[in-house]
C-alpha cells in the first residue's frame, strides 16, 4: 500500500503543477517568454511518471481518414481478389480465414443490421498497382504523389483493431474500445509528456472537421482526465477566425484592447505583490500573456503571405479539389516549423460515419477522396524533406480500419477490423519498407500483427517518452494492450 505521505506529496505536487496551469509545460514556462528551441524533453525533470528516452523526433503530423479507407485499394495489393473475383471465400483456397481465431478480437457493442459483416463474395481490386522507389513498394495508382515519396514511407500492413463499427475511430486515438468510454488521446499524451517548444502556440492542434458524434466526436482529440490544458485545440485555416475566442467582438479597437491588457498586467502585478505566496496569480498572468501572444501568432500561421507561389502550387492551393486539404498540410508544416508537437488532421468528415466509408461506389468515392489529399500529402513529405525537417517530424497516415475483401451492395466493401494498413514517414522511421503482412485475401493481419497502441507506442518512443511510463496518480495510460514500439521499423 502506498505510503500516506508519499501519496499526499505526489498529489500536492500534481496539484501545484496543475495550478500552475500547464503541468510540464508550466515548468517549461518559467523562463520562456521567448521561443525556446530546446530539444524535446530537456526541460522536464521532476515528475517520476514520465520516463525519458533519447528523442528521435520532435513533432508528429497525424493524418486520419474518417470512415475506413480501403487498404486493398491503397497500400496492400491482393492479386488473389482479382483471381477469385465473384467466388465466395469458401470457394477459394483461403477459406480458413473465416474460422481464424483472430476473429474473436472483434467486440460488437451496438449491433448494426446493415454493416460490419464478413462479406463472402470476393470483390476484385478497383485500381491497379505499381512499384515505387528503390524498395519497389507496391502502391495503388490513386496515390501517385505519396508513392513518389516511397523511399521515405514505411507501410505497416498488419494492423488490426477490435471494433467493426465506426467507434473504431475513437479507438484509434485512445487505444480503447468505444464501449470502455473516453480516455486521453495519443496527441494529448504527447502534449502532456513533452510540454512546449514554442509558447506562442498551442502544442496540440487539430484541423479538419472532427470525427462525428456517432463515433467519438471531439473525444478523439481530447485529453479527458489529463485536463483541458492537454486537449487538442481546433484550428481553422482562416486568418480571421482561427481559434475559438481568438479575437475580440466586432467593433472593439485593437488599441483599446492593448490598453486593457496593459492595465490588467499592472493590476495583477499589484495583486501578485500583495500575495507573494499565491502562485496562481503568476500563473494566470502568464496565461494571459500566452493568450495574447496566441492571438497574435495563430493568425500569422494560417496566413501564407511569405510562401512562394511555387509552394502554394505544390500543395494544391490553386486547384479546387486539393485546396482545402492543401491549406491544412501547409499549415501543418508551418505549425511544426514553429515547434508545435502534435498536429492532428481529419479528412473525410460527412457528419456521420465518414466519406471513406465505401459501402458502395468504392471506386468513384475513393478516387475522388484520394485526389483531394494525395498531392498535398506528397508535397508535405517533399517539403519537409527539402527543409531538413522530415528527420524530426513523424508523419502518420491512418484510418480506423480497412475494408472487406468481399463486396457489399455490389460495388463497395464493408468495414474490416482484422487487417489493414497504416503508414509512417520521417521521425526516425525506416523508409522504403513494408512491415508485416495480411493473408492472401488481405483478410487477417498474419505476420507482425499490430494493434493500434503499437503505433502510439512507436510515436511516444520516437519522441523520447517511455510509453509504459505515462501515468498519473491512480491512472495508467492503458491498463492492457499497452502497445510496444515497432522496433523493426525504427531506423
Amino acid at each position: 500500500m502506498t505510503d500516506k505521505r508519499e501519496l499526499s506529496r505526489a498529489f500536492s505536487r500534481r496539484m501545484l503543477l496543475r495550478d500552475m496551469g500547464m503541468g510540464f509545460g508550466g515548468l517549461a514556462l518559467t523562463g520562456l517568454l521567448h521561443q525556446e528551441n530546446t530539444l524535446a524533453g530537456q526541460n522536464i525533470a521532476m515528475e517520476t511518471s514520465v520516463r525519458k528516452l533519447a528523442p528521435k523526433a520532435k513533432s508528429v503530423i497525424w493524418l486520419f481518414m474518417i470512415g475506413g479507407a480501403s487498404h486493398l485499394e491503397s497500400f496492400d495489393p491482393k492479386p488473389m481478389l482479382n483471381k477469385y473475383a465473384g467466388k465466395t471465400i469458401e470457394e477459394t483456397p483461403f477459406k480458413d480465414v473465416l474460422t481464424s481465431p483472430y476473429r474473436a478480437n472483434e467486440r460488437v457493442v451496438a449491433f448494426d443490421p446493415n454493416n460490419g459483416f464478413v462479406r463472402n463474395e470476393i470483390y476484385p481490386l478497383q485500381v491497379g498497382y505499381r512499384q515505387w522507389g528503390h524498395g519497389g513498394l507496391e502502391i495503388s495508382n490513386w496515390w501517385p504523389h505519396v508513392a513518389a515519396c516511397a523511399d521515405d514511407l514505411c507501410l505497416v500492413r498488419s494492423m488490426w483493431t477490435e471494433d467493426s463499427n465506426h467507434g473504431a475511430q475513437l479507438q484509434f486515438h485512445t487505444g480503447r474500445h468505444r464501449i470502455d468510454g473516453f480516455f486521453p488521446t495519443i496527441g494529448s499524451w504527447v502534449n502532456y509528456g513533452l510540454g512546449s517548444i514554442n509558447e506562442n502556440l498551442p502544442q496540440f492542434v487539430v484541423m479538419g472537421t472532427p470525427v462525428a458524434d456517432c463515433c467519438g466526436g471531439q473525444e478523439a482529440h481530447r485529453a479527458n482526465y489529463l485536463g483541458p490544458q492537454y486537449d487538442g485545440i481546433p484550428l481553422k485555416v482562416d486568418p480571421h477566425d482561427p481559434l475559438p475566442y481568438a479575437k475580440p467582438p466586432k467593433g472593439v479597437f485593437e488599441e483599446e484592447q492593448a490598453g486593457e491588457f496593459q492595465l490588467l498586467r499592472e493590476l495583477n502585478r499589484i495583486t501578485a505583490e500583495s500575495f507573494p505566496n499565491d502562485a496562481t496569480v503568476e500563473a494566470r498572468m502568464k496565461s494571459y500573456e500566452l493568450a495574447f501572444r496566441m492571438q497574435m501568432a495563430v493568425p500569422e500561421v494560417v496566413k501564407f503571405d511569405d510562401e512562394s507561389t511555387q509552394t502554394l502550387d505544390d500543395y494544391g492551393l490553386n486547384q479546387d479539389s486539393t485546396r482545402e486539404f492543401g491549406r491544412q498540410m501547409l499549415t501543418a508544416r508551418r505549425l511544426v516549423e514553429r515547434g508545435v508537437r502534435f498536429v492532428q488532421v481529419y479528412h473525410g468528415s460527412n457528419g456521420g460515419a465518414g466519406n471513406w466509408d465505401a459501402h458502395a461506389n468504392l471506386k468513384t468515392g475513393h478516387e475522388r477522396l484520394c485526389k483531394q489529399i494525395d498531392q498535398p500529402i506528397g508535397s508535405l513529405l517533399k517539403d519537409l524533406k527539402a527543409r531538413g525537417m522530415l528527420d524530426e517530424t513523424l508523419v502518420v497516415w491512418a484510418s480506423e480500419f480497412g475494408r472487406t475483401p468481399g463486396s457489399q451492395l455490389s460495388n463497395g466493401r464493408d468495414h474490416h477490423p482484422y487487417g489493414f494498413t497504416v503508414w509512417m514517414a520521417g521521425g526516425g522511421i525506416r523508409g522504403g519498407i513494408s512491415h508485416g503482412k495480411t493473408d492472401e485475401l488481405g483478410f487477417h493481419a498474419v505476420e507482425e500483427r499490430h494493434y493500434v497502441t503499437d503505433i502510439h507506442a512507436t510515436i511516444l518512443h520516437q519522441l523520447g517518452i517511455d510509453p509504459r511510463s505515462l501515468s498519473l496518480p491512480g491512472r495508467k495510460r492503458l491498463e492492457r494492450d499497452y502497445g510496444e514500439p515497432i522496433r523493426a521499423v525504427i531506423a
Binding site: 506529496r9 520516463r51 468510454g181 475559438p244 466586432k250 467593433g251 486593457e260 499565491d278 496565461s287 494571459y288
Partner: protein, 883 residues
C-alpha cells in the same frame, strides 16, 4: 536505458527506499494475493515485518545469499509458469524493479519501525463503525471553540502550527456568499456585515444565505456533479444516453436542498423513489438518478454504470473493480459485483405523460420502475458479456463484509402505477387526442364540400376519414369503459357487456381502417401503372411495390373480417400493463445505504460537503474509501462530523452552518508574518487547515457572477434545459443550461466544468483559452458595458470626484473590496489615457469580423473608457478567485 526517475530512486537508502519505492512496488505487483485480504501461502508482503516473517513454507529471504532468496527467484523466474505475479495477475517486474528489490534485500530490508500492519477489513478506518471521537481540550483555547476547531487545533499543536487570524470581513463575506449561493455579495451586504461583527452575526448571515433559493442552485450543482447529472445526448433526434426531460430531476435536487430534505431521504428517493411513493410525481423525479444511466446501445454498459456510480457516489466504494475478477484491495468478490448488479437488473425507464401533452417526446417525466422482476443476472467470466455462467443465476445482495441488514420485500403497486394509461390524466390525453382528430376530419369534410372544384372522390375520402376518426374515438372510449369496469366492477355480466361492446367497436374500427388502407393501396397501384416514369426499372419497381402493399392490405382486411368470428369479448386492453409488484430490491439497497450503521455513507457525504467548503477534502480520494486509501490525517474530525450528521437527521444545512461558523473556515488565506512562513514550512500542503485555501471560482460561478454584478441576471428558476449555444445571449443562471456529452457551453468546458460522465471532484486549471474567453467573448464584453453604464447612472453627477467614485464602486462590485491607492492610481490613469485614445477613433483599428455583442459600446469616450475598465476587472485575477 537508465532514466532520471530510476537514478533518483536508487539514490534513496534505508527506510526511505522502502517507503517510497519498495512498498509501492509490492503493492502494485503482489499484495492482491499476498496481503491482508488473501495471504496466499500464508505470505503477506504489505509490511516489512511480514516480509521478514515469510510464508507457511518458511523464510522468503535468504539473508546469507540474497540471490537464493525464494522471493527473488520467484519474481525473476524465467518460466512464466513459475514466475510471480502469475501471468493473468500482472506484469512481471522489469530489470530495474528486480534490481531495486534486490538492493533493498541486500541492505537488510530497512523499514520504518512504526510501520502499521493492516489487520484486515474490519480494522480499516472507513469500515469501522462511526463513533464520535473524544474531543480534546486544548490549553489556552476558549471554551467557545467549536469541536471542529478543537479537533484541528490538536493536530496543529502537534505540528507546532499557529493558525492565521480571521479573514477581513469583506473577504470572509465574499467567501461565504459564493460558497452558499454561488454569487458575490452586494456592496450593501458587505457594508452591513462589516459593521456587525458580533459572534452570532456570521451564523445569522449564513442562515439567511441558505434560505435563499440560490442556495439550492449552488449546492444542487455540486450534487449534480457527484450524482452525474446529464441532459440527454444522442445523434440528431435519436436518444442515446440519459433521458429527455431529465431536468425534472435537476429541479428535484434543487428544490429538495432548498427544503433541507434530509440527505438519507434524498438518497432513498433517488434509488427507490418509485418503490417508496409509486404515484407521487414529485418523488418519482428523484429516480432521474437511475434514468440518467440509460444507455441505448448496450444494457451491460447501462447497468455497469449504475453499479459503479451508485457505489462511488454514496459509498465511496470501487465495486466496479470486481467486475472481471475479485477486487484486488477490498473484500469484494467478483460474485458480489453481480449480486449488486442483480439489485438493478429488473429496472428500466419509462416516461410519464403530463396533462395536455400525450407526446412524451415533447414533455414528460422520465422515471425508473421494475420492468422485468424475473430478469436473471449471471456472472460474466472475466467480465466478458459473451461468457455468462448461465447455470448459476445470481441473487441480489450487497457486499457481505459490511454487517448491515439487507432485506428485500416486494412492493405491491397501486393500479395507477402499473396501469398508468387508466389514470384520468392519461385517459383524458388520449380521448382529447382522438376527439381532436374527429374535429379535424369534420373540418376537412366541411371545407371540401364547400369547394366547388372538389371531386366526388375527394369528398368521399374526407367522409371516410371522418368515419374512421369517429370509429377510433368510439373504440377507445369503449375499451376504456371495459377496462375500468374490469378493475372496479364485480358484476360479471356488466363486465362482459362492456367487453362485448369494446370488442365490437374495436373490430369495426379495424375493419374500417383496413378497408381504407386497401382502397389507398388500390389507388396507388393504379397510379403506378399509369405513371409516366420512363425508367423501366424504376417503373417496374414502383408497380411491384404497390402490388406488394395491396397484397398486405388484402390480408389485413381478411383478418379484420375473420376477427368477428373470435371470442366476442376479446378486445385489446388500453395501453401497457406493467408488473403489479416492484421487487423491492432497490428499496432494500437504499435502506442499507442509509442505515445509520453503514460506516461509509455519512463519511463519504461529509467529505464531499467539507471539500466543497474548503476546496480540500479530508479524504483525498473522494470516491474510494477502500483499503487502498490510507487513513486521513483528520480521521477523528471526519468521524465526528459523520456522527453529528447522522444524529442531526442527515441535516445538510446544519452541517454547513457548523462548518462555516468554525474559526477554521474563517481563517485568512494570507498574512504577511513570520507565522505564515513557519507554518508553510511545517505544513506546506495546509493539511491542518492553518489558513484558508485560495481557490478559483467554478465555471458556473464565473459566468453567473458576471451576470449578477452587471445586473443582467434573469433569476427565473427551473424548467427545461436551455440550449448551450444560447449561453452568451440568455441571462439565465448557468445550472439551467444543457449539460451533456458534446452539449456544454464552451466557456463551461474551458473553466473545467464537470464532465457529464463522471466528476466526483473538479480540477481547476489555468489555461490560455480561459484568458481568451474572458477577454474576447461577446458575453464578457457586453456585460462589462452594461455594468459600467448602470454604475455610472447610479453615481450622482454632483459627486466631487466622479471617476474615483466609479472606480471604488466597481472594485466593490466585482472584487468585493476597495482598491488600494496604487490600484486607484493605475485605474485613474487608464481612464484618462483610454478616453483620450478614443477621442479620434478614425486612427484606431476596429475588429471587423468578430462576434456581435448584445450591448453596444458607449459613444462618449469617457463612458467607453469606463466600460473598458469594467472589462479589465472581469479579467482581474481576483474576479475569478476567492481568498
Amino acid at each position: 536505458m537508465a532514466s532520471i526517475a530510476v537514478t533518483q530512486q536508487l539514490r534513496l537508502h534505508g527506510a526511505d527506499l522502502y517507503t517510497s519505492s519498495i512498498k509501492p512496488l509490492l503493492a502494485e505487483k503482489c499484495i492482491a494475493c499476498h496481503g491482508p485480504l488473501k495471504a496466499e501461502a500464508g505470505l503477506r508482503l504489505d509490511a516489512a515485518k511480514l516480509i521478514r516473517k515469510g510464508s507457511e513454507n518458511g523464510a522468503i529471504v535468504a539473508v546469507k545469499d540474497i540471490d537464493q532468496s525464494p522471493i527473488l527467484q520467484r519474481v525473476g523466474h524465467s518460466s512464466p509458469d513459475q514466475r510471480m505475479p502469475p501471468m493473468d495477475e500482472g506484469v512481471p517486474l522489469n530489470q530495474e524493479q528486480l534490481e531495486r528489490l534486490r538492493k533493498w534485500l541486500t541492505d537488510g530490508m530497512p523499514a520504518p519501525e512504526d510501520e502499521p500492519i493492516v489487520q484486515g477489513p474490519q480494522q480499516h478506518w472507513a469500515y469501522r463503525p462511526i463513533v464520535r471521537p473524544p474531543v480534546p481540550v486544548v490549553d489556552g483555547q476558549a471554551d467557545s471553540q467549536s469541536v471542529i476547531d478543537r479537533l484541528i487545533a490538536a493536530k496543529q499543536l502537534a505540528r507546532n502550527i499557529v493558525p492565521l487570524e480571521r479573514a477581513e470581513p469583506a473577504t470572509l463575506l465574499r467567501r461565504l456568499t459564493f460558497d452558499l449561493t454561488g454569487y458575490p455579495p452586494t456592496p450593501n451586504e458587505i457594508a452591513a456585515f462589516a459593521s456587525d461583527q458580533t459572534d452570532e452575526s456570521l451564523a445569522r448571515v449564513a442562515d439567511e444565505l441558505m434560505s435563499r433559493p440560490e442556495y439550492g442552485e449552488r449546492w444542487g450543482r455540486h450534487w449534480m456533479d457527484v450524482w452525474r447529472y446529464s441532459d440527454w445526448d444522442g445523434y440528431k433526434l435519436e436518444l442515446r444516453g440519459s433521458q429527455r426531460h431529465i431536468w425534472h430531476w435537476r429541479d428535484w435536487i434543487i428544490e429538495s436542498l432548498n427544503a433541507n430534505k434530509p440527505y438519507d431521504q434524498m438518497v432513498r428517493e433517488m434509488i427507490a423513489g418509485d418503490e417508496i411513493a409509486p404515484t407521487d410525481r414529485d418523488v418519482l423525479r428523484a429516480t432521474g438518478f437511475l434514468a440518467r444511466s440509460y444507455h441505448r446501445s448496450n444494457r451491460n454498459i447501462w447497468l455497469d454504470a449504475t453499479v459503479e456510480h451508485t457505489a462511488k457516489a454514496f459509498l465511496g466504494l470501487t465495486i466496479n473493480c470486481a467486475k472481471c475478477h475479485d477486487h484486488k484491495f477490498d473484500p469484494i468478490g467478483q460474485e458480489e459485483y453481480y449480486q449488486f448488479r442483480a439489485i438493478f437488473e429488473p429496472h428500466n425507464v419509462r416516461t410519464e405523460q403530463f396533462a395536455g401533452e400525450p407526446d412524451v417526446m415533447k414533455a414528460g417525466l422520465p422515471r425508473a420502475f421494475d420492468a422485468a422482476p424475473d430478469a436473471a443476472t449471471y456472472i460474466y467470466v472475466r467480465g466478458n458479456e459473451k461468457q455468462p455462467l448461465k447455470d448459476k443465476p445470481i441473487t441480489a445482495n450487497v457486499p457481505k463484509y459490511l454487517p448491515i441488514a439487507f432485506e428485500v420485500r416486494s412492493v405491491p403497486l397501486p393500479r395507477e402505477s402499473y396501469r398508468p394509461d387508466l389514470t384520468e390524466l392519461v385517459k383524458q390525453n388520449a380521448l382529447t387526442e382522438a376527439r381532436k382528430r374527429v374535429e379535424k376530419a369534420q373540418a376537412e369534410l366541411t371545407s371540401s364540400s364547400k369547394t366547388v372544384e372538389s371531386t366526388q372522390a375527394e369528398s368521399a375520402a374526407a367522409t371516410r376519414k371522418l368515419e374512421l376518426a369517429r370509429a377510433a374515438l368510439d373504440s377507445l372510449e369503449a375499451r376504456y369503459a371495459a377496462d375500468e369496469m374490469l378493475s372496479t366492477e364485480s358484476n360479471t355480466l356488466a363486465i362482459e357487456a362492456a367487453a362485448k361492446r369494446a370488442a365490437e367497436l374495436e373490430r369495426s374500427y379495424n375493419l374500417l381502417e383496413s378497408e381504407v388502407v386497401f382502397q389507398l393501396a388500390e389507388q396507388a397501384l393504379g397510379k403506378a401503372t399509369k405513371s409516366a416514369e420512363k425508367d423501366v426499372i424504376k417503373r417496374t419497381a414502383a408497380i411491384n411495390k404497390a402490388n406488394r402493399d395491396l397484397d398486405a392490405a388484402r390480408i389485413a382486411f381478411d383478418k379484420a373480417i375473420d376477427a368477428f368470428e373470435a371470442d366476442p369479448t376479446a378486445y385489446t386492453h388500453v395501453g401497457t400493463e406493467y408488473p403489479h409488484e416492484s421487487t423491492g430490491r432497490r428499496l432494500a439497497l437504499a435502506k442499507w445505504i442509509t442505515n445509520k450503521n453503514n460506516p461509509l455513507t455519512a463519511r463519504v457525504a461529509v467529505n464531499q460537503i467539507w471539500m466543497r467548503h474548503f476546496d480540500q477534502p479530508l479524504v483525498a480520494n473522494v470516491f474510494d474509501f477502500g483499503m487502498r486509501t490510507p487513513e486521513p490525517e483528520l480521521c477523528d474530525l471526519l468521524d465526528w462530523l459523520a456522527a453529528e450528521f447522522i444524529e442531526s437527521g442527515w441535516n445538510m444545512k446544519h452541517l454547513h452552518r457548523l462548518i462555516v461558523s468554525s474559526q477554521t473556515y474563517q481563517r485568512a488565506s494570507a498574512q504577511s508574518s513570520s507565522r505564515f512562513s513557519t507554518n508553510a514550512a511545517n505544513d506546506p500542503d495546509n493539511t491542518t487547515y492553518w489558513r484558508a485555501n485560495v481557490r478559483r471560482l467554478d465555471a458556473e460561478q464565473i459566468r453567473d457572477s458576471m451576470l449578477a454584478t452587471s445586473g443582467a441576471l434573469d433569476r427565473t428558476r427551473g424548467g427545461p434545459d436551455l440550449a448551450e449555444e444560447d449561453g452568451e445571449t440568455s441571462m439565465r443562471r448557468s445550472v439551467y443550461f444543457r449539460h451533456a456529452y458534446e452539449k456544454q457551453m464552451t466557456m463551461m468546458v474551458l473553466f473545467d466544468a464537470a464532465s457529464p460522465n463522471e466528476c466526483y471532484r473538479r480540477s481547476p486549471s489555468i489555461i490560455p483559452q480561459q484568458a481568451l474567453v474572458m477577454s474576447n467573448s461577446a458575453l464578457a464584453r457586453s456585460l462589462s458595458r452594461r455594468l459600467a453604464t448602470a454604475l455610472s447612472n447610479e453615481i450622482s453627477q454632483s459627486s466631487p470626484n466622479l471617476e474615483k467614485e466609479f472606480i471604488e464602486r466597481l472594485f466593490m462590485l466585482t472584487l468585493g473590496r476597495r482598491p488600494s491607492d496604487s490600484e486607484e492610481d493605475s485605474c485613474l490613469a487608464f481612464l484618462d489615457t483610454q478616453a483620450r485614445l478614443l477621442i479620434d477613433q478614425s486612427t484606431l483599428h476596429a475588429v471587423t469580423l468578430g462576434a456581435k455583442t448584445t450591448e453596444e459600446a458607449a459613444e462618449a469616450p469617457v463612458m467607453r473608457a469606463r466600460q473598458s475598465l469594467a472589462h479589465v476587472l472581469f479579467n482581474h485575477n481576483d474576479f475569478v478567485n476567492i481568498r
